[in-house]
Symmetry: D4
Subunit: 226 residues, 8 copies
Amino acid sequence: MGDPDPLQGVAELDLDRTARRGYPEAVFCAGKTPEQVGRIAAAVRGRPDVTTLFTRAGAEHAAAVLAALPDAAHDPASGLLAWPPTPPEPTGGLVVVLAAGTSDLPVAREAHLTARYLGRASDLVVDVGVAGLHRVLARVDLLRRARVVVVAAGMDGALPSVVAGLTSAPVVGVPTSVGYGAAFGGIAALLTMLNACAPGVSVVNIDNGYGAGHLAAQIAAPQGDS
Amino acid sequence: MGDPDPLQGVAELDLDRTARRGYPEAVFCAGKTPEQVGRIAAAVRGRPDVTTLFTRAGAEHAAAVLAALPDAAHDPASGLLAWPPTPPEPTGGLVVVLAAGTSDLPVAREAHLTARYLGRASDLVVDVGVAGLHRVLARVDLLRRARVVVVAAGMDGALPSVVAGLTSAPVVGVPTSVGYGAAFGGIAALLTMLNACAPGVSVVNIDNGYGAGHLAAQIAAPQGDS
Amino acid sequence: MGDPDPLQGVAELDLDRTARRGYPEAVFCAGKTPEQVGRIAAAVRGRPDVTTLFTRAGAEHAAAVLAALPDAAHDPASGLLAWPPTPPEPTGGLVVVLAAGTSDLPVAREAHLTARYLGRASDLVVDVGVAGLHRVLARVDLLRRARVVVVAAGMDGALPSVVAGLTSAPVVGVPTSVGYGAAFGGIAALLTMLNACAPGVSVVNIDNGYGAGHLAAQIAAPQGDS
Amino acid sequence: MGDPDPLQGVAELDLDRTARRGYPEAVFCAGKTPEQVGRIAAAVRGRPDVTTLFTRAGAEHAAAVLAALPDAAHDPASGLLAWPPTPPEPTGGLVVVLAAGTSDLPVAREAHLTARYLGRASDLVVDVGVAGLHRVLARVDLLRRARVVVVAAGMDGALPSVVAGLTSAPVVGVPTSVGYGAAFGGIAALLTMLNACAPGVSVVNIDNGYGAGHLAAQIAAPQGDS
Amino acid sequence: MGDPDPLQGVAELDLDRTARRGYPEAVFCAGKTPEQVGRIAAAVRGRPDVTTLFTRAGAEHAAAVLAALPDAAHDPASGLLAWPPTPPEPTGGLVVVLAAGTSDLPVAREAHLTARYLGRASDLVVDVGVAGLHRVLARVDLLRRARVVVVAAGMDGALPSVVAGLTSAPVVGVPTSVGYGAAFGGIAALLTMLNACAPGVSVVNIDNGYGAGHLAAQIAAPQGDS
Amino acid sequence: MGDPDPLQGVAELDLDRTARRGYPEAVFCAGKTPEQVGRIAAAVRGRPDVTTLFTRAGAEHAAAVLAALPDAAHDPASGLLAWPPTPPEPTGGLVVVLAAGTSDLPVAREAHLTARYLGRASDLVVDVGVAGLHRVLARVDLLRRARVVVVAAGMDGALPSVVAGLTSAPVVGVPTSVGYGAAFGGIAALLTMLNACAPGVSVVNIDNGYGAGHLAAQIAAPQGDS
Amino acid sequence: MGDPDPLQGVAELDLDRTARRGYPEAVFCAGKTPEQVGRIAAAVRGRPDVTTLFTRAGAEHAAAVLAALPDAAHDPASGLLAWPPTPPEPTGGLVVVLAAGTSDLPVAREAHLTARYLGRASDLVVDVGVAGLHRVLARVDLLRRARVVVVAAGMDGALPSVVAGLTSAPVVGVPTSVGYGAAFGGIAALLTMLNACAPGVSVVNIDNGYGAGHLAAQIAAPQGDS
Amino acid sequence: MGDPDPLQGVAELDLDRTARRGYPEAVFCAGKTPEQVGRIAAAVRGRPDVTTLFTRAGAEHAAAVLAALPDAAHDPASGLLAWPPTPPEPTGGLVVVLAAGTSDLPVAREAHLTARYLGRASDLVVDVGVAGLHRVLARVDLLRRARVVVVAAGMDGALPSVVAGLTSAPVVGVPTSVGYGAAFGGIAALLTMLNACAPGVSVVNIDNGYGAGHLAAQIAAPQGDS
């Protein structure tokens, strides 16, 4: 359009800063074209000293990443890729991730894997909704060993309230868009969590497993590491 | 305004129909002037065979009712008045009303008293929020004796989900406007209850203790009475 | 991703508890992969003593269930499957299900069939919207025989108010996402029902025919059965 | 503030245009100071050939109007004043105004009186909610004589749907802010009316009795008068 | 599912009542299957004395109607079909339909054709948005001849306010879902119209051209015809 | 509370930066106590070289400011105070501020006075709503002399669309909270303006006259002054 | 449908007026059929003296335009076409367009190109989100040369607040629909920008790059050109 | 009302559990009557081994607490009381609390004091909004010493995004209800924070300073203490 390419690049990476801070760089794929994601993956190839995560990668995004970084780890359920593929040795406290139901698994896996790639030990437990309290109560010992608990729940989003009453560790709620009708794509669960009647619950964006895992890794970081 | 009184009356009572159906007539005071409420109370005086409830009565409404019906029962906390003042002998199944917190008491009392005046036995239990599960679990025996459970809860509104997992009786959730910020005057609790992950929960309007108690009385009505 | 399968299973079934409570286990398919649903169906096969419902099953979910349980009953309109396929002999009171319009039929059928599989007799009536009152009035006798009435309605959602004025049985409203524009996917009908000017109406989530049928079966359960 | 009065007046009246169009000028008081309303009332005094309505007048606004126009008609319930005080002889068709409940009366009166001052015959009927269908059905003859029906209703707002099914006259719904909780100050009733399942219903703003009465007067205007 | 067809039919038509009221029966296709629509069309075939409209008909719905009623009139842009195909001779006053922009045409056509099939003369004018006032002003003569004006507008929905200031005929606003971002699928236009600063505007549901045309036909009905 | 005053001050003023940028410092009073506002006013006293505005000042805030700065200019209608009291000599282009109705005057005055104190010439015109187009059209000459037009409007908020069609100057819309019901405290007007069908309209927050006046002053700044 | 083509045309172009005002005509394609867009493109062909922009053109719209105007400029990323293809020589001040992230590029490009075709010089800068302040701070010199800054940002939409604190030029915020969950398709960013704590920010509709670019061109117009 | 006191108490305190968990019991006063709060304060008097906080206490609530516990600490700005009055010796990491503006101070103080009474060292800094970046940048050293940062911000709520980009400590955002118009009582800030473009931000309910302080104390707890 008479406009001699106004964009040299599609993004500005700052991998040196990433290296200094010690946390991976993350590339949010959902709003980018596969071609843009591929160009970023290629730019990352020269820096195996820094872990890079690709989040919300659809099938085409994943193919573009794997073309540039064939040995990247890939979890299709959560849309996460990581390169280099091996997570670091765990340090700091334990992260426990709960998925209220099977449908919350993709988000819970995203949190779990993010915490792993940021250097924490993480346990993932599925199908512990509040309609069957015995399932929650059977995990009290695990919850009490956790330095932080991530709870992914859709529908009524009531699990974080119950969990926060059972442990003195901070709880990070991740509302998921699971449900229908007046679940409003996760708004119901989001509001429930924001209004948790037990103190010690904070909330991240709907379906934001990456954010929950990142925050959990920061909370469980080894003392003196923040 | 040159408009020779277009309103003979302020309302149309149909006490014969009420007598036939067996449930009290209810006068919703909140949108009426005390003077209008007083005129209705006076109209009711001639029909002691029919129980009449006055709901959402502020101090001035209550005074107007009591001026016309001095022996009416009055519960200021819930804004309920009843005349004649003595509830009928209980028939049918047991209604159990739970208030998640002290602040939910006015709504819970409205449900409890309504069920009583519609002819059911009713138990009211306070301060059983999900943040302290031992409080709920200590009531499991009572819950299992109930023909229907009414749960009044604000903030996260998570209690009905938990209760429905513990009993096979139907659960009527009443979201209350207790809370602040993103509680949005009861919307958060309303959405939580509509999305309850346990089946067997239905919901009435925010703060609608009267509606919940009425419905509970219908559900617990003696067989052959519906 | 260097993550030695952290999930042994995709869900935790508790069929013994289901057997004790007397109500079927229900598997919500919408958020699960067909492969996950198939694994659950296979796990269920060994327990013909417990009825299992699969709700919100799309064509692929249904195929996965039928592969594992070839004789399962399947109602494509409502996305419901049941196994074993024969509903129990009816006990308790009568459930009446009304669909305001033809478009509300899938939700109404889900409620109707759920009540059947939970052991109640159920009648389903179609096309009784309030714009033609004679259609409602023609069903007053049926309504008065019901122990509980389920009303599925979209658009203005006005039918439960009218029905509750005609019967003393409790009414369970199911707003449907039928309509357009300011129907907002069922929100308009949901709000109408929550604000029903007749007492005796409670509401379940938008399009939640399963929840309405389950609740109706609980309300109409034989005395001493709750 | 060093700002030599930038406002000669507080409003621009165009009473000649009003005279030409044949409909009254209306002054919306709610957002104005009593002093501003008083200045407008004084400006109107010289034009007894034009009817002026003052709407949404609180006690102080009314006092300011009556100071300038002592013989103005004043209906405190609806906050309406009119000057000159006598409505014109009715022409055109009949306007029928229904109030679903006593609490809807202020809005219904505003519609009724506006129609009167715009030159129509108008009947006002109270307490005809859908929970008691016999009350509506008892007015079918009146409804069928109407050229237009205005229906003021809060809570579930279901009355216009029912009325539109009983008459072929156009129905103007006025949602009122009567109700509580999920009535959301009239939004529930507004949505119900917008989604009326019977054709022939249109809607004006919440509590806008003036607008409904004005519109009804236009619809019922004598042929050749529009 | 062991459920011997509980539905004899998919709908209940009442064509005699339609014949008595003088307005067509309308079948809302959007929520029905093509097969259901086809069965209704076949049922209609025996009654050429009554006009039947099929609204919101997609391509498959239209094919099903045309299979049963091959000579039905069909307007693909608005998804409307009519049978018998010839509209009645116009009676009553003139309906004028304005479309603010080209994108509002489908809705405007639905209103225009509905008014025609209900027996009114109707004029349709396109592309008269308020950003170019000269286009509106050029139609003042036409507007003043109208008995009622229908205005279809999306985006800011400002046109009805302007039109109502130019005519004393009632204005029916139809917000359309045209626009993006904060147009919120027609909510912005809906709110604008509900808050029109000129009296004489009422509103129907978003994109509800059928409702607007039906209402317009009722308003413009010959005197003594309502 | 055993907490040796953790706050030396209530705010951090940076009047040197203000002096460098050339625009006044503004103190938003609404969320502050009168005592806090008074302390800020006292701190400002030593800097007559910088204009300071106090916005959203209630009566008590204003008293606190005037106690410290007795010669401050004060406009009670808009809640604005300015010190030193004399606005600078106007430079740059002309700002024109329109108020759609009398009720929009407080917001319009806030914009007008802000523009004056930021150094622009400003004209304020009242009562130019779209329901009376002749009022707008009578100001076309003024609009075309403006470098920027600020339009304050509540209710339907339609005026900016019309104005933008009449001038090629940029238009800044300020929705006001004037209106009722579905005006939703200015949301309706906000949405209308965001969806203006004429290009050249941007929007500031509801009732934010200060922001609109500030922006207008920046837009109309003398060339080379930005 | 017995309706002899009531539409001679699909739109009313007024290219003479466009020529007089000096700004291009814009055709919003999203709500139109490709065939309608093609007819408009053909109508434009005879007027090379006026620039015409086609906005929100999908692939089929673009093909229809290019069939009629083969040498039109086309930017597929933003869906913009322009004819004649060469933008005018820049006059007036500099427009700077910032995209907070790569995903905001389509909207930012639409603003940038629109400003170019309306006759301004424009610079486009990508990936300057507030999470890495050094990226913003590195552009302070450019920001201070701008006559107006357009900021396209999704997710938290915080960039305009930061930018407005760094420059005295007016800032036009364009919220984008980038993000997920509680980003609500751009509503979160829209609200953030409306509440910008720095004065000097105004907002256009979500994803409305065309509107932002148009407004920026008006603001940066040469003195005496408005 | 013939109802022999169904409530022995207004609440159920479990101070032994509080003693075991090591965190104070908190009494939310806002929904309770002063008399109820006073009864709880009296019940607490016998347990000086447990710290009790009274949150959201208005003047009457505070008087009731101080009548029972005269030496309780009281911070009227935030509505917090504590008894016994002396906070414990700090252990664990440093909590830093930022208030974006003076108006956010009450909420920030509630967070700060809560963290102190839960046993952490806490620093409170005021007036660091993003419109003046130099204020934030001047605190980078402090931010980097923090184990957790609490950010209280209203209006655009943009500060947490900026802070999270400057530190690797977790950030707890507390949206405040400061602002007007489209701030919607804190919703705008809430959404901004949920969509923070920097990872490491989580959010608590609007104005929930107590929850933020509690969570911060949990995050900064000494290793092995969770």
